[in-house]
Symmetry: C2
Subunit: 208 residues, 2 copies
């Protein structure tokens, strides 16, 4: 199945500042993308990157500089077969989590992100379109309902954990054992801390 | 299977202040507990509340005023059969998520919480003991590994979402359609907000 991975080639992940400077944020976004692509590559998914600008990677890249919603809707409109959309900031994905998106036969198989976003979906209904603004997960359920489409939700912490903020890095360090994203963070001196039983993040400066 | 639900009957959920005052936090903690118990009641799990003080509820209550770790370890030590432990601040649990804890046959079936905690587990190994301090999820994996116990992790956003902070309430409002916890929040005037595409929480005062 064709899987489209939208990617912001510009200045992504602003909420990871000041922990990471703009160049580091750009580098980390690319490392996360490479984790997502490596995971997709281990499944029946055939990834294409849908980027706002040039990206150097080993899968096909399509450039569309429009905002996320119209760019993804153009993909959905052009699709003649079922199609998957998965965000590029989900380094904790595993082949098993992708299978959980692929296995159900519902018209829309959807994975919510923490905070009400839509982190991934598979659409088998030709008319389904997205609107990523606000609580897009509930909006997408509503859009599907209005179309009479069947819906299945994938309940996964790995799929729910898009990496936007400092606290999200805790999840990468804990659950990202085999990811390049975790290695990258560690190389940058980013470590877990425990303060009165609560887990956080600190940076000790590049260790290399 | 016996399922123990630890519950802080004292002054729980301090991180939900100042949105909720101490009495409200106590009330909300009890409502979340009632959701967890109602969910367990719809499965093969037989719940007991393990509370630090008296709690009025419809399942057996055991009082143990020690901290969480020794109180739970006393339960594990006394258990003659497989036993489940599930936290009381998981109102998003459904019977399906509990089944995902019950179905595997591993010695330890464990569900991480966001931030590295351990939100639920089923133990089938007589010697397994807990240590809830810090990143208890990885500590528990390590404890199981040292014992030679088999381990299976349940990857669930619902199980990962313990309700500690303001941002966690977003998840209750979005995913808690059939919960008393969501109803309670709405009655208290707590609503979702969307500010430049990011979802948050606001309180307009009690609506009643």
């Amino acid at each position: 199945m064709r899987f489209v991975v939208p990617f912001d080639a510009g200045t992504p992940k602003t909420r990871l500042g000041p922990l990471l400077d703009p160049d580091e944020r750009r580098a980390f976004a690319r490392v996360m993308l490479s984790d997502v692509l490596a995971t997709l590559d281990a499944t029946a998914a055939e990834p294409t990157v849908l980027a706002t600008g040039p990206v150097d990677c080993e899968v096909p890249v399509e450039i569309d500089d429009r905002p996320l919603t119209p760019a993804v809707n153009a993909e959905l409109e052009a699709a003649k077969e079922p199609i998957g959309i998965v965000m590029a900031d989900l380094p904790l994905l595993t082949p098993e989590t992708i299978e959980r998106l692929l296995d159900p036969t519902a018209d829309l198989v959807i994975a919510p992100g923490r905070g009400g976003g839509t982190n991934a979906f598979v659409a088998r209904h030709a008319e389904f379109r997205v609107d990523y603004h606000g609580t897009s997960y509930t909006d997408h359920l509503e859009i599907a309902r209005e179309m009479g489409a069947t819906v299945e939700t994938v309940d996964s912490h790995r799929l729910a954990t898009d990496i936007d903020e400092r606290a999200d890095l805790v999840e990468v360090l804990i659950h990202g054992a085999d990811t390049r994203s975790r290695d990258w963070l560690i190389e940058e001196g980013i470590r877990l801390t425990t303060d009165e039983g609560r887990v956080g993040i600190e940076r000790s400066g590049p260790s290399g």
